[in-house]
Amino acid sequence: MTNQRQGYTTQERAELDAIQQDRMRAYWRANVRLIRNLLIIWGFVSLGCSILFIPLLNQIKLGNLPLGFWMAQQGSIFTFVILIFVYAIQMDKLDRKYRR
């Protein structure tokens, strides 16, 4: 980090720092947006489909099970696993984009 900056004037260094700070902020905003979106899905499948809207969903069938019951005992758990891997993969992309 110091090596890259040799040969810059004080003013140039201050500008580089400001750019760097903006990049960090952009990275964090992108991260928080991603977390928010994934948690909306998380809440929708577990608290929504499996608890709050279950009377509605149970009128539909998946295989031989009422859909709401299936979401509560199978579907929500599968979704959780997928959500974590999606987050890990998306964060790899963000890391590559914003890393120096």
């Binding site: 577990s46 608890i51 031989n64 509560a72 199978q74 959780f80 974590i84």
Partner: protein
């Protein structure tokens, strides 16, 4: 070979394996002892976390619990898995980047306060002790049920095994034995599940057999005929609001349990922490999506083979005789009409079923070979020992690292720190063993505490510590204290003093959700009314949020390089 001979063989083989791994991964320095040198690959840490998380209760009792609760049991399935999403997205990567040894470490450093650290230490020890007592008891019960060994002897054998690899290898020894224990427990869980699915539905994959066969449909019909509610009918025992609150409390509590969080300190980077959480939940999901299948199959099968049969017919069933001898299955023709009948009314029902029998009896009910029954015993022991060892390390590191090294003697040498760590593991094992032999009557009731306290204390404080720069010492302490006080007051009041569950009829198990919200609000408000955290703490948060991997942050170098 008899079931006992098989069980003895399997248990001895698995114990030798654990001891060998413990010996191979013995450590000398504190980084190895407390965080396994931070060299555990993501997938291995995933397996270790899964074994750490899934206790004797998950392995033996959960399917039974669901079997009796039907839909309402889903709150445990979702609560104990959904928490890992919160952990992976909100906590684990940042705590790994923070890069110290324990959960109280983060609380103490982030909130620049010895008091905050001490509150965290006390909560961590309390939560872990409650939990570990149950695990040791589980070890004893497996020994007594499968090998006719006295419960106390069983507990002591378990203590010696755990002591060996935990004292020698610390976190490193625990991690690699947990990987082996996960393998044992998942095989032991799946073989009987696949067999019973095949016998009842012709489909060997339990998850598919559960969703696409007509077993649950038939079970619904049988339940209604007998006067029960349908198996899939929601909110039979609990209201919708209660199910919602309990699910959230279990999720948030899971994410805040110290023995799960510290597992993410052992991986090489925050990137590895994210993948590791994914692997952990995948490995857990294999068992957690199988459990509801076993639950419904076993319930259907039990009712089908016992209900409305003549007394003579039931007596011809070997497994029914064996399990009624243990007292876990009660069969009695109370009205002397020559038929055994199951009714929803407990007084008159002629069949009584202990929930543990659902998993334990599955291999015999499905007519599997004796070695499968033995495998289930080895699996139950693996589940109990792996969870116990993870908890013991949290207790040890809380005292040896947070109290002894960070507060009492910051000048302690490397060898002193490891020595105190080893002594504390031994000490914690002795206490856990004592509670295993003499279980306090309230253990089952205080488990609600573990989740409630973790939800109301650790989760909000760590969350805001990362996502809200303005949160300061005053806010965090005020939040933790009010969250803990409210949750403890409600649980103790309702469980022990007959207080009405006055908060919208929420059960004590679900009150952690409210405690968490109170903590969040208080922390947020108090932080804004008091001075912001010092500059160096703000820099630390900026570092946690940056995409760079370790090495860029000087405060981090301090402790690790000087060691």
């Amino acid at each position: 070979m008899s079931v006992e001979a098989w069980t003895t063989t399997f248990v001895i083989i698995s114990f030798i394996l654990y001891l060998y791994i413990g010996w191979r991964s013995r450590v000398k320095d504190s980084k190895g002892f407390f965080v396994a040198d931070r060299g555990v690959p993501a997938i291995a840490n995933g397996a270790a976390t899964a074994a750490d998380w899934m206790s004797a209760a998950s392995f033996i009792s959960m399917a039974g619990l669901i079997s009796f609760m039907g839909y309402d049991g889903s709150m445990y399935l979702m609560g104990w898995t959904g928490g890992f999403v919160l952990l992976a997205l909100l906590l684990a990567p940042y705590l790994r980047k923070f890069g110290k040894y324990t959960v109280p470490d983060f609380v103490g450093d982030r909130y620049y306060s010895v008091w905050a650290r001490l509150v965290a230490v006390v909560a961590a020890i309390f939560v872990s002790l409650t939990y570990v007592a149950g695990q040791m008891r589980g070890v004893g019960i497996v020994f007594s049920r499968f090998l006719q060994v006295d419960i106390s002897t069983g507990v002591i054998i378990g203590m010696i095994i755990v002591a060996f690899f935990a004292v020698l290898g610390g976190m490193k020894g625990i991690t690699w034995t947990q990987v082996a224990q996960y393998t044992v427990l998942i095989i032991a869980y799946l073989i009987p599940a696949i067999a019973i699915a095949l016998v009842l539905t012709g489909n060997p994959i339990p998850q598919l057999a559960f969703s696409f066969s007509d077993i649950v449909e038939k079970l619904n019909g049988v339940q209604v005929d007998l006067g029960f509610a349908e198996y899939t009918q929601p909110f039979v025992n609990k209201s919708m609001l209660d199910v919602l609150f309990i699910t959230i409390a279990l999720m948030v509590g899971t994410a805040g349990l110290p023995h799960v969080i510290v597992r993410f300190y052992t991986v090489p980077s925050s990137r590895a922490a994210r993948y590791s959480a994914g692997w952990a939940l995948l490995f857990i999901a294999i068992l957690y999506t199988t459990a509801p299948a076993i639950a419904s199959f076993a319930r259907y099968n039990l009712i089908d083979s016992l209900h409305n049969k003549s007394v003579a017919e039931v007596q011809q069933l070997d497994w029914a005789n064996k399990w009624s001898n243990t007292g876990l299955l009660g069969i009695e023709d109370k009205n002397n009409n020559g038929r055994i009948e199951l009714t929803p009314d407990k007084e008159n029902s002629e069949i009584t079923i202990d929930r543990d029998i659902i998993v334990l009896s599955t291999p015999e009910v499905a007519k599997l070979a004796p070695w499968v029954v033995a495998l289930v015993a080895a699996g139950g022991l693996a589940a109990a020992l792996s969870t116990a060892s993870g908890l013991l390390l949290v207790i040890s590191s809380s005292i040896a690292h947070d109290v002894y090294y960070r507060i009492i003697n910051p000048e302690a040498s490397e060898s002193q720190r490891v020595m105190v760590g080893r002594v504390m593991v031994g000490f914690a094992i002795a206490i856990a063993g004592y509670f295993g032999v003499n279980p306090p009557g309230f253990v089952a009731q205080v488990v609600a505490f573990a989740f409630g306290l973790a939800a109301a204390s650790f989760f909000p404080v760590i969350l805001l510590g990362i996502f809200d720069k303005r949160t300061n010492r005053e806010g965090a302490i005020a939040g933790m204290v009010t969250g803990l006080a409210f949750t403890a007051f409600y649980i103790i009041g309702v469980k022990f003093y007959g207080m009405q569950p006055w908060f919208f009829n929420i059960s004590p198990e679900g009150i952690g959700t409210v405690g968490m919200m109170i903590n969040l609000i208080i922390t947020f408000v108090v932080s804004r009314l008091t001075p912001p955290p010092p500059l160096e703490v703000q820099e630390m948060i900026a570092h946690l949020r940056s995409p760079e991997e370790d090495g860029a942050f000087l405060r981090d170098l301090g402790e690790e390089e000087l060691d």
